[in-house]
Symmetry: C5
């Protein structure tokens, strides 16, 4: 049998689009936290430095990674942002700023689990910025590494096209903003807060998608609902995989009692912790709602099936006696009772009508309608 | 095919009412603990101050938020209740009463997870008052913030229409009531106790709704039971989302060992803690019962389906031989055995009756009835 | 359609008895740990006092609660048992024996979660005695409060008809019994041990009910098995709700290191703790067995359904060709091949028999029997 | 309807044997850790004493329990093994060897949960030896109590027929064996190790049974697979009930820091702990595999059902038009078109064949084969 | 009935290959951590010694186990690798290098749970190297034991054919590599890191297999998807069984504070710990995806079944009236109305067409298409 032709019809039930079947599963399942798989170098990197204190702020666009060396020792807070990961550049700057080789490896790795570490006076966070791709209806992630040292923050982002930290840039330019008035630890907090806040935007988008699918199911707008539910379950796996470890990450920062964190900043991290817990709770709720929706869908399909089957059963039952009666009087015997009577035909047809009426009465009593 | 017409019939299975489908999901899924989404200012706010000690009590209706400043330092316990959230007002009063800007943000936020915090000599609780909307059969929530300071309690409520704390007002007016004889911490306890007690009212209402739906299922009063079960599952998500974090909130207060709490008040908070744990247990029990009810419903539908299908199968089987016999003797061959016999017709009809009787006997032996 | 008539037939599947449907759910779901719902005073109360030491024992039947005051200070261990809760009486005795008002409230409350508290030199336990109502096949509960003080135990029971502590009375009368030779803490242990031991009796009864239902399912004695399983799941909710918190209660007593408990009594409480953990494990096992039984039932029903449907499918298939052949030769054409042959009829009938035999052969090969 | 006859046929699906239905459930559910249910005294007891040190070993067969008294104080390690529980004997020996009455009660009890206790210089373990009954395919248990005191171990077994500790006896007879060279604590370890090792034998047997049932399911050797799966789930409950508490038991011994245990023995108990954890993990894996097997079975049954129903649907559909055509030309109208044509019959029959072929073509395109 | 013939057809649904049915279950379920089951000695063993410090490295191929004795005391780091387990050899070397007999037993055992132990100045790890057998599509495991002592590491592998540690050998040969510059603890870390990194390779392969099966399900390439899903569930059990305990193993090393581990090595073990947690999370995600895939498969099959059944129901219903009408006018009564009219036949056939059209209209309105 030609299977490709066969499946054409049924594909509509379970293939949401060419991009969202096993290809998405592949993306989700890919893993390589080990060194051996080397990240392809970004084609271009963009390095910007913000050097600021309460009074002034200087923005520098660097052309070479080595230009960043001059900012290590000064009285300003320095934020070096590297957009686009090139192995060489990362190793040079990490080496200069005393970031442990293991952390450098983490920055260079792909598909890392969000983690937090404090090694030799550097507080290191690695987590994923999440975006919701409106077109593909999937959750995309970009790995962000934040290294907080004495009076400096170095951040690494994968995608030079989009910059996660733009809102912080805006705030830095305003001299009265808190981020300007406080130290590097507050800058680090502001970054984590921004990323976690963004999780809620993504959750909201996924939430909207859940509503859409529920709408679809209730109004039966499409036969692909099963595929859509399946896809949503995958996206939730992505969400939870990114959100759950960030709870430990932030809790780890709060517990670390690092000298890099001022006491007055701790309560800000606690606030982020509250948010990330809420994000996790939400993703749990989403899961409950999706499972409940799947139950609703399947049960609804079954109820309809039942209805159709019941009608079929009843029609078949009601018409069966008529067929038999027709057969009886259609037999070619010489002697058929009432065959020569004028009212014979009408009696037979009458029986054909009366018996179903009687059956209907019985069925109603038994409650089959 | 016209889907909107198609769905008309089936909508009755899964659409409980226009208000309770995906719209309810949307409400549940909406989240915005971040600053960026700004709460719309209430149209009107109502600010009342109760200034009391064991001997006297004064009630003031304020027209401007700044009138509340005068109550900060006096020997009385002061309760300032703000009904309706206006960003400006909240910021002014919080600033004056030394409530940390992060807490002020929490008060102004929407859809916050219940939380407790102790920042600079203010014990802050944010939780949701729950109501059961009898008409829509849904659980509604109103965010309540309670800030306990030295000799004052400031509360913020969203809805100026309904006042959560009316029963406390009543008690305050009675000079012999405990709440009058004790300090601000007892007032704070009384508020939390009131809110938690109200959870039981809501649980009871949801419980009544569960009974209604179980009644529906057993007596098959409606075809929308599936929708009702689905909706109850959503309401339980709302309940658990509000109740679960309050456990931590109250446990946090007990553990805080804050100077604001007198030793003799602790056991009252422990009592509230016992209650909130019971509320949580109950919501777990409700979930078990709803899932068990869903099983009952689906299995019951299937049992009925089985019954109908079995009867159909049997009727079809019993009548099938008759149809064949009718067909055999209805064939237009010249020579049909017994066709010219007087008893031919009766033999054929007799067979039509005897064969089903034999089949019935076999079916009974096999236990298909 | 008249639904009440309709449901008559199906009620037998899911209504075990008028007492065990939603009414039971209602009982389970009812909750009111708050003050506002006031317990109706018992019509009669029975107050007995046992005043004993190693050498002598005196039993007093009190007519007024105030007569109990005289037992507070003496060198004997005093057990005051109040059967039937009257608000006034409870408040008077609790006040006199320095039981904290919050505990008094607990005693007066309904549907409390089992709890343990140590307030101002009184160790307080509230838990439920369970009974299995053989007639209704449900688990009934009676709230028992035990207050252990210096040299006294005060107990409160709801139902004056049945006395939980009769076996202890018997032992008290024997001068050589341990309960006589030890202090009030041992008396308290004996009470908890009695209650926990009784849980096993109830578990055993529920276990017997589970066996009955399993027996029903396997021998298909009734069509109400689904209802019985559903009911058992409800009873297990009641059991777990009562047993689970008692674990914490007893662990709380062991951890409390109260002066009221002698060191040598601790190991007795540890023994009770072992028992309650076993009771909890058992209720978990029961749940597993019930869920496994439900799977068995549903799958069994489906297997039977499959069997019936398969026979129907085969009979229909086997007879269908005969009907068609009958139809072919029943057509009123002038020229029908073989119609005038002597063997025409027999050929046709032969075909009617041969084709099904051939089909049967194919079906057997495909393994459909 | 005669139900006993009815069920004959279906019993084969769900009754594995007369011994393994509700009777097994009854055995599993029976519980009585309380005193009230008294164990029936064994008909015969066998008391053996091994008195040994590194150099010599003496074996004594006692006729009366009191003969064991003489071994209490000597420089040898003494192992008293009591096979068969008689209340009187147990109380006498426990009393003499200072075993606390609560522990004596535990030894005498039935269906105890495995537990460990240290009371007044006696380390007490109660656990169950498991056997797999090859004939009944069930897990059997025998309660074993081990009391470790200063230089003595007293063990109590239920069944005098089979002796759990035979392998230890063998080792004791070899003067170079570790058990001879070390103290009573090592003897106690050897006993627990033996029992835990035996759990793996039982697990292996249950594992073989799981394979058998999987084999059955895949090759459809029997219709009782559902019953077998159900039974395996019950046996797993028995296994987990016995294994899970032993983890705590052994962990309790390691944590106890009892003077009875030498430091160098601790690592042996840690080894047993590793084993018992592995046994628990395995029982979890077994559960997963059984549930996965049940899914496979049910889904497989449904796939077959689908196949049969699809063929039936198609045959019915294909033959239906032929029946109608036969009916049309079988009508007794005077004027039937083509009725008098020579090719009329062949046209009709041709239509009967062509229409199904056309339908087949459509069905294939829709992918229904 | 001949069952072997019967099952031929259905085997294709659930037998993936002769190697992957119950045989695989058997492999998974086999357990024997106890001494009694003795591992068969390897036919050949290969013993290699690497003796190195920062400056030089010597590789020795030993012919007898006793040659390894000479490396115990020197200033070099010594790695003795034993490929192939012979009881005698293992006991000799372990005895000489002061590895505790209990650990020697572990090395000799089969199917051990991964574990870590520190006994008398030897840090011992036992875990499984995992491979994915591309041909059989199963996860294979090889037990690896690593004993870290003062300046030496002894490793034991089961399979002399394949050597797990080849990459480490490569690195050892490079004098500038970290493993050369650091001590035995770093060598031990490198080994664990290698094994854990390999888990990701296996996870990736299993992930690819999941994609393949999802592809199969969506494009319905085979009827064995159920078997493939079932098999994947088994492989995941193997994965989790191996990965889960390694978390504790590595955490145990980090917590051990052994003198054998230098401070600067700890962060490397923390890095491995991060990886193993990620591996565990991934295996959890895999489980979710497989279960979601199974849901998709079953629901998809049911949707198709529904579609087929609906068409059958409709065709049957539409044709049933035609059959009855044919029967009515086929009856052999003398007087049949319209029988002698010219338009009688056409009226009847017209009715046969009109009634289904009317039914179709009703069905469409009810939404059954």
């Amino acid at each position: 049998m030609n299977l490709t032709r066969t499946s054409k019809k049924y594909l509509r039930y379970i293939v949401p689009s060419l991009l969202l079947g096993p290809e998405r599963t592949k993306e989700i399942l890919t893993t390589s936290p080990n060194e051996s798989i080397i990240r392809k170098d970004a084609e271009a990197t963009q390095i910007t430095v913000y050097d600021y204190n309460e009074k002034e702020i200087n923005e520098h666009e660097l052309t070479s990674i080595k230009e960043s060396f001059s900012f290590k020792v000064n009285n300003h807070v320095t934020w070096i942002n590297v957009d686009g990961i090139k192995k060489n550049d990362v190793e040079i700057i990490c080496d200069y700023y005393d970031i442990h080789p293991l952390l450098t490896e983490d920055i260079l790795s792909l598909h890392q689990r969000p983690k937090m570490d404090e090694v030799e006076n550097v507080l290191f966070c690695l987590l994923n910025m999440l975006y919701f791709n409106e077109k593909k209806k999937i959750v995309e992630q970009e790995q962000v590494s934040v290294a907080l040292g004495k009076d400096f923050v170095i951040t690494f982002q994968e995608d030079p096209e989009r910059d996660v930290f733009n809102p912080i840039r805006e705030k830095l330019k305003q001299s009265h903003s808190k981020v300007r008035q406080r130290g590097a630890d507050y800058l680090c907090y502001a970054m984590l807060d921004l990323i976690v806040d963004n999780y809620f935007h993504v959750l909201e988008k996924v939430g909207e998608r859940i509503e859409e699918v529920e709408e679809e199911i209730i109004h039966e707008r499409t036969k692909r609902s099963l595929a859509h539910i399946n896809q949503l379950r995958k996206e939730l796996i992505v969400l939870k995989r990114n959100i759950a470890p960030v709870r430990d990450l932030i809790a780890g920062i709060i517990r670390s009692e690092s000298d890099l964190l001022q006491d007055r900043t701790t309560k800000y991290f606690k606030d982020v912790h509250d948010h990330i817990i809420q994000a996790y709770d939400l993703s749990e709720n989403y899961r409950d709602i999706i499972l409940s929706m799947q139950d609703l869908y399947i049960n609804n399909i079954n109820l309809r099936m039942n209805e159709v089957m019941k009608v079929m059963a009843i029609v078949t039952c009601l018409l069966a006696p008529a067929t038999v009666i027709g057969g009886i009087f259609g037999m070619n015997f010489d002697i058929i009772p009432t065959a020569h009577n004028a009212w014979g035909f009408y009696t037979a047809v009458g029986l054909m009508l009366l018996i179903p009426v009687g059956m209907l009465f019985i069925f109603k009593q038994r409650g089959w309608f």
